[in-house]
């Protein structure tokens, strides 16, 4: 499978490269014309002559560019043909006048006009949009054929290919009368004038009414084409009227010629600019992907593509439960699109993943569509991967929260069991020992009383230890009275003095209270055990939906988050989407700070 594909690709590549050889004849002709300088006006006014000579090359280059970008479409080859035809009228430079070639070239000289009219009016859709356009191009073709016929069979001496009165007449000459030949020639050119005006008017109308996305590409072509055809129209009518009636419309021939050459350059340059704008779009799409923010997603991508293609109605759609839906969630009917819109559907593993609804004109540029689909596919895949990642992160977060919740629930169960079980039994035992002590009275055996008192002390110590253990597992005060009283109780139990500044009104979500209490308990325990501090400060306040809590001490400092105890606290705080930091305190000691979102 890979081999043939590679072979076809290579063949296409060589064909596309070899196609540029089509530029050789126009270049050779242009060189010959410039080098030999045989054009009668060359010496008088070289600049228009040079631009006129190069126009055929410009048309050929534009055609080849279009051909390579839109293989299989007619506009490229037509423009190349127009570029070649531009020079056939000057075939006499390279072909001997004794042959038919110069006369054939002279006859076919004007055929680039109907071709260019066809290109201008059908660009960039590659089809004539209406009856008026078809009529204009058809009429122009017919008149050009008629003109070629007259030129071929009625070329008078002095009006032939070499413009030299001494040239021999055409071997195909049928009408050998100067006035008749010139009259026919000018009359046909006169008829071409209104048709050319029509082409110019249609080009302007198309420029105004074309869809914005197509207008961006076609505007230079249409504007240049309109200017060009207007000039030809004026020239045709002027030529006829000056000959027939002796009344030239334009008195100053030099100015007219200058305008004429300028407009003749505008047409090909417009086409070249239009073709380059097609290329621009590809680069602007590539910039979307290679931009500083990477490939945008969702409505951002839609907006970027709209901008890149100057198509404000470009839309992205994604498969939905009921068919297709836009980035805004609204249903989209891909089967009910208007004729000027087209949908390009992307699939992933055979399953539709997205659809691009765009101006139909884009379909004329396969490379552009390929680039567009590649960009959207990349963005859609990126979005999907990010969504997967977000889902996984959310699952991890939820799982971590569940683990913490489960651990808290287990702590509560153990605390309750200790409180209701072993602790109650020990309390009952302590009360019994007290009863025995009372009943024995002061006169009992002193050794027995001493032993009894020692037992009572032991039981009391056991109760205290058990109570501390239970308290550490699940402080009842936290459950019953909330974080403020629980933190105050924690400060009161600390072996070192703890100053408190607590601004917590009411209750907070249970997991926030539990987390904050455990962090405070662990932090105060660390201060007592490791910090060598003489005092600590516990502050907590709720503001803007966040609980901010800190434990500061005046100890030796050096605490960091790598310790297993603090690491556990970091995990626990992270399970509530909060943050924990440990930093040196100004003037020595350590500040452990926690921020936990607590908006209900």
């Amino acid at each position: 499978m890979t081999g043939p594909v590679r072979g076809r690709t290579a063949a296409r590549h060589w064909t596309a490269t070899a196609r540029w050889l089509l530029l050789v004849p126009p270049i050779a002709m242009a060189y010959a014309m410039l080098a030999l300088g045989t054009h009668p006006t060359a010496a008088e006014n070289p600049l228009p002559y040079i631009t006129d000579t190069l126009t055929g090359i410009v048309l050929t280059v534009a055609g080849l560019l279009l051909w390579s970008r839109r293989p299989g479409r007619r506009t490229g080859p037509l423009l190349v043909a127009a570029g070649w035809l531009w020079y056939v009228g000057d075939a006499f430079i390279v072909a001997p006048s004794s042959t038919l070639a110069p006369y054939l070239g002279f006859a076919l000289h004007g055929f680039y006009d109907p071709i260019l009219a066809l290109v201008v009016l059908s660009f960039p859709d590659d089809r004539l949009p209406g009856r008026a356009e078809r009529w204009c191009v058809g009429a122009l073709t017919a008149l050009t054929v008629a003109l070629a016929t007259v030129r071929l069979f009625a070329t008078p001496p002095g009006f032939g290919p070499g413009y030299a009165p001494s040239d021999p007449s055409s071997p195909l000459l049928v009408i050998d009368n100067v006035d008749t030949a010139l009259g026919l020639n000018l009359f046909l050119r006169f008829l071409i004038g209104p048709v050319m005006f029509g082409v110019a008017a249609l080009a302007v109308r198309r420029l105004v009414t074309l869809r914005p996305s197509a207008r961006y590409v076609a505007a230079p072509v249409l504007a240049g084409g309109a200017a060009w055809t207007t000039f030809i129209a004026f020239g045709s009518i002027d030529g006829f009227l000056s000959y027939a009636l002796g009344i030239p419309i334009l008195a100053d021939g030099d100015v007219w010629n200058s305008i004429g050459y300028a407009t003749r350059v505008l047409g090909p340059l417009g086409i070249l600019l239009g073709v380059s704008r097609l290329r621009d779009r590809t680069s602007s799409v590539v910039e979307i992907v290679a931009g500083p923010l990477g490939a945008p997603q969702g409505s951002d991508l839609e907006g970027a593509l709209r901008q890149a293609f100057d198509d404000s109605s470009l839309q992205l759609a994604y498969p939905s439960a009921t068919g297709w839906a836009g980035a805004d969630g609204q249903p989209v009917d891909l089967d009910g699109l208007p004729p000027s819109r087209a949908a390009t559907i992307l699939d992933s593993g055979g399953v539709p993943s997205a659809a691009i609804i765009h101006d139909e004109v884009l379909l004329d540029d396969p490379m552009l569509v390929r680039t567009l689909t590649a960009v959207v596919r990349l963005a859609v895949d990126n979005e999907r991967l990010q969504a997967d990642l977000r889902t996984q992160l959310e699952e991890v977060r939820a799982s971590r929260a569940r683990i913490v919740e489960a651990a808290d629930a287990e702590r509560r169960r153990v605390e309750r069991d200790l409180h209701d079980g072993a602790q109650q039994r020990l309390v009952a035992l302590a009360v019994s020992l007290r009863t025995i002590r009372v009943r024995l009275g002061p006169d009992a055996n002193p050794a027995a009383l001493t032993e009894l008192d020692a037992a009572a002390v032991e039981v009391k110590a056991a109760i205290d230890e058990l109570r501390e253990l239970a308290h550490g597992l699940d402080p009842a005060i936290l459950r019953e009275a909330g974080l403020g009283p629980a933190l105050q109780s924690l400060a009161d139990r600390s072996p070192i003095p703890v100053r408190t500044d607590l601004q917590i009104d009411g209750r907070l979500p249970a997991r926030v209270e539990t987390t904050a209490w455990f962090v405070s308990a662990e932090a105060l325990a660390n201060v007592a055990k490791h910090a060598q501090a003489t005092t600590a400060t516990l502050t907590a306040r709720v503001a803007d939906g966040w609980l901010r809590l800190s434990v500061a001490d005046n100890g030796v400092g050096g605490a960091d988050l790598s310790g297993s105890g603090l690491r556990g606290l970091v995990d626990r705080v992270a399970a509530t989407d909060g943050m924990l930091t440990v930093q040196p305190a100004p003037g020595g000691g350590t500040v452990l700070a926690v921020a936990i979102p607590c908006a209900s």
């Binding site: 109650q424 009863t435 109760i463 109780s489």
Partner: protein, 117 residues
């Protein structure tokens, strides 16, 4: 005349031993209740000199029982008791309607007398 005492606690074992100990120390335990509402009803009927009320009860909290007793004036002195210690409940007990707080492990006749003034 012996000081009459009502014991409100949901642990039967503790109540039994506390009754024996307190009676040995000269109190007259006139009633026992296993939950807060029973304790309130019993106090209305018995009007004890002292009500020993556990903070954690199955229906309502010891703080609520203390408030009820104070409102109905059905016990002369109200003392909260708990398996937990004073650091945990002492402050809340001080702000409650009770006259004092005793950790159960420290319970004795002397403590009851001291707490009930």
């Amino acid at each position: 005349m012996r000081t009459t005492l009502l014991l409100v606690d949901d642990h039967a074992g503790f109540r039994a031993r506390a009754r024996v100990m307190l009676e040995a120390e000269g109190f007259d335990v006139v009633g026992e209740a296993a939950d807060g509402r029973s304790g309130l009803a019993m106090a209305e009927r018995l009007h004890p000199d002292v009500a020993l009320v556990d903070v954690q009860l199955p229906d309502i909290s010891g703080f609520e029982v203390a408030a009820g007793l104070r409102t109905s004036d059905s016990a002369r002195r109200i003392i909260l008791i708990s398996g937990r210690d004073e650091a945990e409940y002492g402050e809340r007990a001080a702000r409650s309607s009770a006259d004092g707080f005793i950790a159960k492990a420290d319970l004795s006749g002397d403590m009851v007398r001291a707490a009930s003034g």
